[in-house]
Every structure is written in structure tokens, then in C-alpha cells.
């Protein structure tokens, strides 16, 4: 077991536990965008930064990727952490204002304005979809391309990949995505599975939304109406 202190409280955790897991176990809230249990930690969004160390040599690290160390002193809500977190949310809000997840986080941290030039992007490149596709769906259909400001996520050469099963898991997990499966508009339907099942899901009440990764399943929503 590894002993560390989080916000002054002593904690014992198993080896290999991340600081984020330890802090959440103790009930300290740390906001995250790119972290999901069941997917490998990545450390892209930097929202989960915490301050570690003591005295003048403290530094900020992303708690989702930092493993608990013996004797580590962690502060999850110091003024330096809060200042960084607020600036990150302001940057997120400036780039991706439509996302409900980001709006909620910003509101929770009482961000009242953003001072940058407003952009309307969809993707924050948190990489959740890439890891979901690789680690849970075993497909590796999408990945990162380019670097710096030209970085994007997509399929190789922007051609529909053979390994993509149109499962929709990438959209399901996306914190910023505006795209949703809309069965009613065939070109935006993700997999069309609900229609192609025998008997079609939308006609019989057999399958319910258990067959669909979309939440809520659009076809099911239509049925309920």
C-alpha cells in the first residue's frame, strides 16, 4: 500500500492507483473531460491538474496520469489549481461553446465571461473516442492526425474505414459532440441497425434501446411519441 496525503488527509491506496482515483475515493471532486473509467488515462484536457509537492518546489500535474507515490502531498483545489482550471475552462468555452458538458463545467466554476475571440469548433481533441474505439470496441478505426493546430481525429485519408462497424461508441462518449444519431434523417443515421433488424426494432417493441449505443436511442424516442 502507498501512503499519501490529499488536502491534508492521509490516504492509503494500492500501488498503481492514480492520484485522481485516490482523490475521488476520498470524495474530492476533480473535474475531467478526457478521463473515463475503463479507458487508459491520457492527460489531454488538463482540467484534472492538482498541485503536488511542498514548499517552493510545487508543481501542477494531471492527476489522471500521475501515479500515487509514497509520501506525496497533493492539493486538489489550491489557488494555483483553481486559477489554471478557470483559464482552461475559459479556453474551452472560447473554442467549443455549444457543448453542454463544457457549459455545465464552466458554470460550476463560475466562469462568467470568456475573453478570447469566439470560435465554434466541435472537437476538443480529448481523445476519448480514439481510446474507446481502440480499447473497448477493438476496432482502431479512428486516430489522431497531424500536430499542433492541424491536429484532428479521423479515419486514414478520410475514407470510410473497413474496420469501422458504425457502432457509434465514439459519439456516445464524446463530451463535445453535436452529432447524434438521427434515425429520421437517413444520412445522419449512425448504423441503421434498428431498421435492419428482423423484425425491425422500430416496429416491434422487442428490443427497446438495449440494442443501441445512442442515449437515448432516437428510434426509441420516436416510438415513445
Amino acid at each position: 500500500m502507498i501512503n499519501l496525503s490529499i488536502n491534508g488527509l492521509d490516504v492509503s491506496v494500492e500501488e498503481g492507483t492514480t492520484v485522481l482515483e485516490a482523490a475521488r475515493f476520498m470524495g474530492f471532486p476533480i473535474p475531467t473531460l478526457c478521463h473515463k473509467d475503463g479507458l487508459s488515462p491520457y492527460g489531454a484536457c488538463r482540467l484534472c491538474v492538482v498541485e503536488i509537492g511542498e514548499g517552493p518546489k510545487t508543481k501542477l500535474v494531471s492527476s489522471c496520469t500521475y501515479l500515487a507515490e509514497e509520501g506525496l502531498k497533493v492539493r486538489t483545489a489550491s489557488s494555483r489549481v483553481i486559477r489554471a482550471r478557470k483559464m482552461i475552462l475559459e479556453l474551452l468555452l472560447a473554442s467549443c461553446p455549444q457543448s453542454k458538458t463544457i457549459q455545465d463545467l464552466a458554470a460550476a466554476h463560475s466562469i462568467r465571461q470568456q475573453r478570447f475571440r469566439q470560435e465554434y469548433e466541435d472537437c476538443i481533441l480529448c481523445g476519448l473516442c480514439v481510446r474507446m474505439c481502440e480499447e473497448q470496441m477493438m476496432a482502431k478505426a479512428i486516430g489522431f492526425r497531424g500536430r499542433g493546430e492541424n491536429r484532428s481525429i479521423g479515419m486514414p485519408f478520410d475514407i470510410q474505414s473497413e474496420v469501422c462497424r458504425l457502432c457509434g461508441a465514439c459519439m456516445y462518449i464524446c463530451p463535445a459532440c453535436q452529432l447524434r444519431c438521427t434515425f429520421t434523417e437517413p444520412e445522419r443515421a449512425i448504423c441503421g441497425g434498428c431498421e435492419n433488424l428482423v423484425p425491425p426494432c422500430i416496429e416491434k417493441d422487442q428490443f427497446d434501446d438495449m440494442m443501441c449505443y445512442m442515449e437515448p436511442c432516437v428510434a426509441c424516442e420516436i416510438k415513445k411519441d
Partner: protein, 616 residues
């Protein structure tokens, strides 16, 4: 090439080579590194070869083609040994004359270097002010060695440090020696090399250990590592061999950026020769010491100079840094313990072993020992690679070795450490160059880039340039680094266009501190340095841009206008030179620039002989 089976074999070979050396015969040394070749060294080599053959002088005059000697401003240059006569900026048309003079043992006075201060001709290379004030431990090897001939390296004392280490036969002694020398990593962060090796040596030996030579030198205007790799590849190999013996590593990787074709070529040849000679392989010099080195070419990403990204790149993955700890020395390539050092650090290792740690530690300061190579570029008279002891002041480098400003305009600042570094203003040029004082001044030592800026350089523009570089070269994994550099660029761009406000300036500083705090790797953590250091030392220049919409250096295009003053003699030169036909006027009448057509390219100002073009 015979394969050496034991240390005695090697020593016999070395003694034979040294005995066969012919130091009395005049030798024409032509530096043909990338810079030399670009300036025409290949022509000189061709002419020399042709003339020596045609005049049947091959026995009387020798030719040695080496890597860069460092004085790039004077390329293509020639050195005549053993007299050490230095001919700068050699015109191919004069080459035949020089060969004739060498054959007759004469010196061509009128082609010698002119000391700009005294106006006198200087014959010997060591008397040239640029070379005189340096301590050339690493770079001096470049003159003596033909990089593609291993015998050349051995006869000048090469691989004797390795033999010394193997004879000692005690890895712990090697690490103790490196620790005692006090050498710190030359790649920028300045981590003590001995400590790093000790950590690697103490790792469990189960799966094999690796050494990496980081030659992914990406800083704009910096080429120290290229100079060393091109000129002295065996020095790096020898350093890695000594490191392998000390740490128990069995594999080595040299990660070179693909933009250095000559360095790659020389290194591949050097590796092959070392392998043929039995200095690399399963059983080095019969000492049951296995070590081999592979060369991996980078694919052009600046971030791959960061060690965790470099490892990812070698593994064939996307070049993205990841969280440390675990440090590479615990978990590197394929999970094996890996130590990464810079080219210059590796090149220093044989020197430490050869001279002994106490002797090495005498150069430099207490906390930063040894010499450091800087690439001195920008608005300076003597551009080139300079090697100086640590702790020397910037003043001595810039005005002493560098020879002061290139033009009439005063030097304003030096940018050190590449894109992650900062600007140091001229008023604190008495600052000693070592890891600590540069960091305190808001810059970093970095790998050794030193860009000199004069009064015609706008500091907002400098910060904008580096931010533009970084927003392209950030890997994009960390949101704050990716978006932060983009937003900083956006704000700097606004300021340089006169659209900035004081609130922008506050936001810029606030953002810079957050990016510094929250990024994962060294690139992101140092990315705001150009902004923070220019804000710290040149705040008034930012204010001038914002409040008066005025660029004091006359660089930011949106804020300047070109006009012609009463000095104009009506010579028509600028009128003909203007690509936009924005200048009108008649002969012997003062010309006028049409501000609507002017694209502010500055051609007229550079053409004008009468100082008649004003930039407001």
C-alpha cells in the same frame, strides 16, 4: 579492414597509425560540413583534387576533407597544416594560386583574414579573434579528423578513452569519473549525466538496457549537434560505448532528424567502420562486452526532441510525450530502462575519460563544468559555432568572439535556448552563461542556440514568430499547450496589427503562466518563455504598440509607413526596384511613395544609397 580481437590489437594498430603519420607534409584542410558545402566547399575540393593530380603533387601535398570548423561567416575557408594558415572566403578562382603557394611553401598575404579592428592581415588561425577567444575542446577535433575515415580518428587519439575504460574494467569507476567531472546534460535541461547513468546502472538487468543519442535538433538557428555529428561521428560513438560499459546497456540508438542528410551519411559510414573494426558488436575487443548502435531517422516533428516523445517515435508510434514518472530511465523503449543524452554530451565523454575528471572540471564554473558549443547567429558579424567555457559572460561571446553587431545598429538582445528560451536584453550582458543564471534571467541554456537581435528587431514580432513556430510544432495532446499557443499567437498578432488593448496584455500574461503551469512536457512548459521574457524586459515596446500604434523597430507592417525624405537625389533606383510600382518620380526630383500601393517590403530602403527612405 581487420577486425580487432583484443585491446592489445587495438593498441598495436593505434601505435602503427601514429608512427605512420606524416605531420610535416603540407595538408590542405577543407571544411565541408553542410554549411561549407552550401558555400561552395565542394568546388574547392574538386579543383584541389584535379590540380594535385595534374601537377603530380599528391605525394607533396595532402588533402583532408573535414566537418565544419565553426566560422560559418568565412565559409568556404581553407586551413593549411602544419603552419595553420587560414584563408577565409576562398574564391574558387584563387584555389589554384593557393595550391601553388602551398607547394612552394609560401603564404598569399592578400588572401589572408583581415582583423576588422586593426585592419591587419592575420596568418595563423589561432590568431583570428573568432578562434582566439574560444576554448575548442570538442570542435577542435573537427579540424583533425576526416569523418569518414576511422583510422584518421584513431591516429589522433580516438578510441583510446574506450581502451582506457576497458583496461580499467570497472563500470563503477566510469560512473564515478563522470559524476566527478560534474558534466550536465547539454540538451537543455542540464540534468547531471553521472546521476542519470547511475540510475540506469542500478536498474534491474533483466530485459536489457538502452542508450539513446538525441540528435533531433530542431531549434531554429541552432546547429551545434549537426556540426559535431558531421565532423566527428566517432566521438559520439566512443562516448556511447563508454556509457554502455558504465551502465551495462547493450543497445544504442542514435535518433537523428531526417533534415540532416550529411550527418546521417557520416554516421552510417562511421557505424559500419566501427562494426568492421570490432568496436561495435557482440564481443567488443574480446572483452565480452556486447553493444551495438542503430540509427533511427526522425520524421520532422520538433516535439520528438522531448525524451518521452522521442521514445514513442523510435517505437514507431505517434510522437507524443507522456507522463513522467515513470522516467525513461525506469521505463523507456519497449519498457526497457533507457538513458537519453544529447550529441554534445556524448561527444564530451571521451574527453572526460582522456583528461580525467578533475582536469575536465577545471573548465567552467562550479555548478556547470566543461565547455558548451553555441551557435551564434542573427545580426552579428561573426556567425558560426563557438565553443566557450561555461560561466563566460554573454558580452564576451557576443562582442568578443562574435565581433559585435553586423550593421551600424546597436545590439538589443540575445535570444537563447530556441523557441523555449527567452530574450536577454543588452543591459544585462554581463550575465554569466550557465544553467542557473540563464534560468533566473527568464531564459534557458537550451541546446545552445544564440540569436542576436539588434535595434531593428521588434520584440513583439520575435515573440510572435516563436509562438507561430510553437503552435505548429506543439504535438497537440495537451489542450493548454495546443490552444494556449494558438491564443497567445492570436493576441500577439492583434498587438502587432495595432488592434491590441491593455486588457489583451493582462490576458496574455495570465494565459502564459497557466500554459507554463499545466502542460505535460518540456515543450509546453517552456512555450510561453518567449512571451514572458519579452514582457519582462521589453514591456514598454508592447505598450508602445498598444497605446501609440507605433512599432519602434519599424517591423510590424500594419503600424508603419514608408516615405522618402529630402535626402533623395532622384536616382530612380528605388523606383525601378519596387515590385508594386508604388514609387513615382522623375530623375533628379524627389520621389514619392504611394501608401495605398506600398506593401512595406522594405526593398526601397535596402536599395537606397542616400538614406532617403524613412520608416515611421
Amino acid at each position: 579492414m581487420e577486425s580487432l580481437k583484443s585491446i592489445d590489437n587495438f593498441k598495436a594498430l593505434q601505435e602503427r597509425l601514429i608512427a605512420d603519420r606524416d605531420l610535416a607534409t603540407p595538408t590542405i584542410v577543407i571544411p565541408a560540413g553542410t554549411c561549407g558545402q552550401a558555400c561552395g566547399a565542394n568546388d574547392l575540393i574538386r579543383i584541389t583534387k584535379r590540380e594535385l593530380l595534374a601537377r603530380e603533387l599528391t605525394e607533396k601535398i595532402h588533402l583532408r576533407i573535414t566537418g565544419c570548423h565553426g566560422f560559418c561567416e568565412m565559409e568556404p575557408s581553407i586551413l593549411i597544416e602544419p603552419q595553420e594558415t587560414f584563408y577565409p572566403n576562398v574564391d574558387p578562382n584563387n584555389m589554384v594560386k593557393i595550391i601553388e603557394a602551398v607547394a612552394r611553401g609560401k603564404v598569399l598575404e592578400d588572401l589572408l583574414f583581415v582583423d576588422p579592428e586593426t585592419g591587419e592581415r592575420v596568418e595563423k588561425k589561432d590568431q583570428v579573434p573568432f578562434f582566439k577567444n574560444q576554448v575548442r575542446t570538442i570542435l577542435s577535433r573537427n579540424e583533425k579528423v576526416d569523418p569518414i575515415r576511422i583510422y584518421n580518428y584513431i591516429e589522433t587519439g580516438g578510441y583510446s578513452s574506450l581502451a582506457k575504460v576497458l583496461v580499467q574494467g570497472n563500470p563503477a569507476w566510469v560512473i564515478k569519473e563522470i559524476n566527478a567531472s560534474g558534466i550536465r546534460g547539454r540538451g537543455g535541461a542540464g540534468f547531471p549525466t553521472g546521476v542519470k547513468w547511475e540510475l540506469l546502472a542500478n536498474q534491474p538487468d533483466g530485459r536489457g538496457k538502452l542508450l539513446i543519442c538525441n540528435a533531433d535538433e530542431g531549434d531554429p538557428g541552432a546547429y551545434m549537434d549537426r556540426g559535431v555529428l558531421e565532423g566527428n561521428p566517432h566521438g559520439v560513438i566512443e562516448g556511447m560505448l563508454i556509457g554502455a560499459f558504465g551502465t551495462g546497456a547493450t543497445e544504442g540508438v542514435i535518433y537523428v532528424r531526417n533534415e540532416y542528410p550529411l550527418a546521417i551519411k557520416h554516421m552510417i559510414i562511421a557505424l559500419r567502420q566501427a562494426r568492421e573494426l570490432g568496436l561495435l558488436g557482440e564481443d567488443i575487443l574480446g572483452m565480452e562486452f556486447p553493444f551495438d548502435i542503430n540509427l533511427v531517422k526522425g520524421a520532422g516533428a520538433f516535439v520528438c526532441g522531448e525524451e518521452t516523445a522521442l521514445i514513442q517515435s523510435i517505437e514507431g508510434k505517434i510522437g507524443e510525450p507522456h507522463q513522467r514518472p515513470p522516467f525513461p530511465v525506469q521505463k523507456g523503449i519497449d519498457g526497457k530502462p533507457t538513458a537519453i543524452n544529447n550529441v554534445e554530451t556524448w561527444a564530451n565523454i571521451p574527453v572526460i575519460i582522456e583528461r580525467g575528471a578533475p582536469e575536465f572540471a577545471k573548465t567552467g564554473t562550479k555548478n556547470s563544468s566543461g565547455t558548451k558549443i553555441f551557435s551564434l547567429v542573427g545580426k552579428i558579424k561573426n556567425t558560426g559555432l563557438v565553443e566557450v567555457p561555461m560561466g563566460i559572460t554573454i558580452e564576451e561571446i557576443v562582442n568578443g568572439i562574435g565581433g559585435g553587431p553586423a550593421g551600424k545598429v546597436k545590439i538589443k538582445a540575445v535570444q537563447t535556448g530556441g523557441p523555449s528560451g527567452g530574450c536577454i536584453p543588452a543591459r544585462i550582458f554581463d550575465l554569466p552563461v550557465d544553467y542557473k543564471s540563464l534560468t533566473e534571467a527568464g531564459s534557458i541554456m537550451g541546446s545552445g542556440g544564440m540569436i542576436v537581435l539588434d535595434e531593428n528587431t521588434c520584440m513583439v514580432d520575435v515573440a510572435k514568430y516563436f509562438m507561430n513556430f510553437l503552435k505548429d510544432e506543439s504535438c497537440g495532446k495537451c489542450f493548454t499547450c495546443r490552444k494556449g499557443t494558438q491564443r497567445m499567437y492570436e493576441i500577439l498578432d492583434d498587438i502587432s496589427k495595432g488592434k491590441g488593448t491593455l486588457t489583451h496584455l493582462e490576458l496574455l500574461e495570465e494565459l502564459a503562466h497557466v500554459v507554463k503551469d499545466t502542460a505535460m512536457c518540456g515543450l509546453g512548459q517552456t512555450a510561453p518563455n518567449p512571451v514572458l521574457s519579452t514582457l519582462r524586459y521589453f514591456h514598454d515596446e508592447y505598450i508602445e504598440h498598444i497605446e501609440n500604434n507605433h512599432c519602434p523597430a519599424g517591423v510590424c507592417k500594419e503600424l508603419i509607413t514608408y516615405s522618402i525624405n529630402e535626402n533623395c537625389t532622384g536616382c530612380l533606383l528605388c523606383l525601378e526596384g519596387c515590385s508594386e510600382k508604388a514609387i513615382s518620380g522623375k530623375k533628379k526630383k524627389r520621389h514619392v511613395i504611394d501608401p495605398d500601393k506600398c506593401i512595406k517590403c522594405g526593398v526601397c530602403k535596402s536599395i537606397c544609397k542616400f538614406d532617403a527612405v524613412d520608416v515611421m
